[in-house]
């Protein structure tokens, strides 16, 4: 399904398509890019995009964005995701970057934005805490002013790829007496600061994506406060709004469905009643994707005319993640007995793995995808948002 593109936009799409085909590093085409690449490998594409000036589609031109229209941003997102490229690190590019250029001061913009674009700084997100999952406003990590520093103490968790990070953007409590939402500040912390400890959390798929981050008497210069003290909640909410529409994951789901079809064809004989059952299940998922894609295109077309979907866009997160979870589950089922095996981490081509290549990541993907309905505001929270802000309940 395609947007109705002008001649110029169609030419742009072709340009993006060709650029990806000619420049996406072969080294990054591994079974599971999210877990199988080193930090340096996963930055290869980032650097190529930066050189081309295409790294940060969302950013205004003055900060290094390409100055694209809504339609072109969507085309770029669609093409890169259909081609299965690993997107640049979201924490840096779509999260902290926009917060800094929107709410940060000149010195912060000058210091941080170019380093995000170049890939020099790798950012992670310090939101969740052991006691603050969906209810983020209860963060307890404390920042106490001491001259021109804050002294930060607390424990952040589920911190994705903190093991690679140079910086962490944190929600910290600066006013313990205020109402939960109003005593929070947005603080940038250098991961090399004394008192910062990262401890891996291994998830059920065996991979190391997330971490605990302990902050003990960490001294953070006051100049690393973004915006005003105690206004951090506003900035945090702004940031969450940025990721809504890209959550549909149409390109990814489409790729995984075509792989699933190949697996079913190869693994399940056509005269097996299960074959028909798979065909039907796959058709249902394809139709789910089609309906969501049509909705995404409808919203993009509206955005191009200046109509903001607002909180209704939460539906992309809900449906996009549910659909992808279903695909990974069906793939794991399709691979049959080989679904018992799982790759060991860190991944190495030298380790034995039974069964056909296309099934090697089925188990870990199935397990790993359980996170999708939990993170970024759980799907239950997203439903609360629509219930309240769209349905008026």
């Amino acid at each position: 399904m395609e947007l109705n593109l002008s001649r110029e936009d169609a030419a742009f799409r072709d340009e993006v398509r060709t650029f990806i085909a000619e420049n996406y590093p072969q080294e990054m085409r591994v079974p599971n890019p999210e877990t199988d690449l080193t930090k340096e490998q996963s930055l290869l594409w980032h650097r190529i995009l930066h050189k081309k000036g295409w790294l940060a589609p969302l950013w205004p031109k003055e900060y290094g964005g390409p100055g694209w229209s809504v339609t072109r941003r969507f085309i770029f997102e669609q093409e890169t995701s259909r081609a299965g490229t690993l997107p640049p690190l979201a924490f840096s590019v779509t999260m902290v970057g926009p917060v800094i250029y929107t709410f940060g001061n000149e010195a912060q913009k000058k210091k941080f934005l170019p380093r995000i674009l170049s890939g020099e700084d790798w950012w992670c997100q310090g939101y969740s805490e052991p006691g603050s999952g969906s209810d983020l406003a209860t963060v307890r990590t404390k920042a106490v002013r001491d001259g021109d520093h804050y002294i930060v103490n607390g424990h952040k968790t589920w911190t994705t790829l903190a093991q690679h990070a140079d910086w962490i953007f944190c929600l910290v409590r600066t006013d313990p007496t205020a109402k939960p939402q109003s005593g929070i500040s947005f603080l940038l912390i250098d991961m090399k600061s004394p008192g910062v400890t990262v401890r891996p959390i291994i998830t059920i798929d065996g991979s190391h994506e997330v971490n605990d981050v302990f902050l003990e008497d960490v001294r953070v210069p006051v100049e690393n406060l973004v915006g005003e003290e105690n206004k951090g909640w506003t900035y945090a909410k702004f940031l969450l709004g940025n990721e809504r529409t890209s959550m549909a994951g149409i390109g990814r789901s489409t790729r995984y469905i075509s792989r699933l079809k190949k697996i079913v064809k190869a693994e399940i004989p056509a005269d097996d009643p299960a074959h028909l059952e798979f065909l039907r299940d796959i058709a249902r998922i394809e139709l789910d994707v089609l309906a969501l894609e049509a909705t995404e295109l409808r919203v993009v077309a509206q955005m191009a005319r200046g109509i903001d979907p607002g909180p209704a866009a939460s539906l992309f997160k809900i449906r996009g993640t549910e659909i992808f979870q279903n695909i990974t589950e069906l793939t794991h089922r399709a691979i049959g007995n080989y679904g018992l095996a799982i790759r060991e981490h860190p991944v190495s081509a030298n380790r034995f793995m039974p069964g056909p290549d296309y099934g090697h990541t089925a188990s870990e993907k199935y397990l790993n995808a359980r996170k999708l309905s939990i993170y970024g505001g759980s799907n239950e929270i997203q439903r609360n948002i629509i219930a309240k802000a769209v349905l008026g309940l």
């Binding site: 947007l3 295109l297 629509i386």
Partner: protein, 376 residues
């Protein structure tokens, strides 16, 4: 992708909306359904006067040339108001087939009296054993002079008691389930040898079992091409039925949301309970997705996309499932009231159930969608 209506389309939509708001509220509809005939010839004349019966038909055949997008606009509003008059059967299905298959003479002789509201048509293709298979035809037609005579039985023919003409599928050659050898015929409903047994349908309409004994029929188009013609007709029909379903879904969601904000239990409105809030969010999402898919299908119908038929099956299944989900939940959330004939909710439920059966149910179409992919 999002449809920005042209001025003409916007005008069509607002005029249908105004008309139905003023003349077709739920009480007015109830009276129409309970009337002797079960539909309103007066309303039908108003539709004709407003140009609705001409809206989607091609200009060459005497229509206004609005195509599938006009159908979508009209059917969406009809779905919101549960309109029972046979626009779908007469204009979308029958006139569509006449446009597609009829000779220029046939078009000139039949379309004007459809457009001006004087004649009502319907399609009689289903048979006892046919289920959703157009090729499963036992009704026979044999040539007699310049005409044909038809013998057989058609079942569950919606709007037949209202119709002046039937388009009947009958076998001119081949065996009972052959794709080839099925042809379409125009049969005067009052002709000798045509016998109707009428009854009511779950969605407040009238239908009939039609028996044909040496009934005269005029061949529509060419011999033997009936199945392909019916398949193309089904794609258009699905576009219309999907739009009607989406209209009904929107009304069910609005009614349910409204009810949840006023109905109190345990000292509070039931809309304050999270389990019901989340249910209504899922109903909202189902509506949004169905609406998008409806637009996508109508645009593809307009453009005559090559993978159209597969898409139509997909939409019939997905939107049918969405309709069923929303209708089930709307009745559930209305509690006992949702079970009453008094409330409109149950009537939407029944219309959606009826749509889901016609031209193939969601289970049939999801398999067709899958198999057309596997065959490609």
């Amino acid at each position: 992708m999002d449809i920005q209506f042209t001025e003409e389309q916007e005008l069509l939509r607002s005029s249908v909306q105004r008309l139905l708001r003023d003349q077709y509220d739920f009480e007015a509809r109830r009276k129409i359904v309970a009337s002797e005939e079960g539909f309103s010839r007066k309303q039908w004349a108003v539709f004709a006067e407003l140009g609705l019966l001409a809206a989607p038909l091609s200009e060459g055949a005497g229509g206004l040339g609005g195509g599938p997008l006009s159908t979508m606009i009209v059917m969406h509003e009809f779905g919101r108001h549960l309109v029972v008059e046979p626009f779908f059967e007469t204009v979308v299905v029958a006139a569509g087939l006449i446009e597609q298959m009829g000779s220029p003479e046939q078009q000139q002789s039949f379309i004007p009296s459809i457009v001006d509201g004087s004649k009502i048509w319907t399609l009689a293709w289903t048979e006892k054993a046919s289920r959703f298979d157009f090729a499963n035809v036992t009704t026979r037609a044999r040539r007699e002079g310049s005409d044909y005579v038809l013998t057989g039985a058609k079942t569950m023919v919606v709007a037949a008691p209202w119709a002046d003409y039937l388009i009947v599928s009958a076998r001119t050659s081949g065996d009972d389930r052959d794709r080839g050898g099925v042809s379409l015929f125009v049969v005067d409903r009052r002709a000798t040898g045509v016998d109707l047994q009428s009854f009511k349908t779950i969605d407040g309409r009238r239908a009939a079992e039609v028996s044909l004994r040496d009934a005269r029929g005029q061949l529509l188009g060419v011999e033997g091409k009936g199945v392909a013609a019916l398949e193309a007709c089904r794609d258009r029909a699905i576009g219309a039925l999907c739009a009607e379903t989406v209209g009904a879904i929107g009304e069910l969601n609005a009614a349910t949301l409204d009810y949840s904000k006023t109905r109190k239990q345990f000292g509070t409105t039931i809309g304050s309970f999270q389990v019901l809030q989340h249910r209504m969010v899922d109903m909202f999402i189902a509506h949004q997705e169905a609406l998008s898919l409806m637009q996508h299908l109508s645009l593809s119908l307009s453009a005559g996309d090559s993978a159209l038929s597969r898409l139509a099956s997909g939409a019939k299944s997905k939107i049918g499932d969405a309709g069923k989900f929303v209708a089930d939940q709307a009745v559930q959330l209305h509690g006992g009231m949702g079970m009453t004939d008094e409330l409109n909710v149950g009537h939407y439920f029944k219309r959606i159930s009826s749509i889901n059966i016609q031209f193939g149910d969601p289970a049939f179409h999801v398999l067709r969608y899958a198999q057309l992919d596997a065959a490609a």
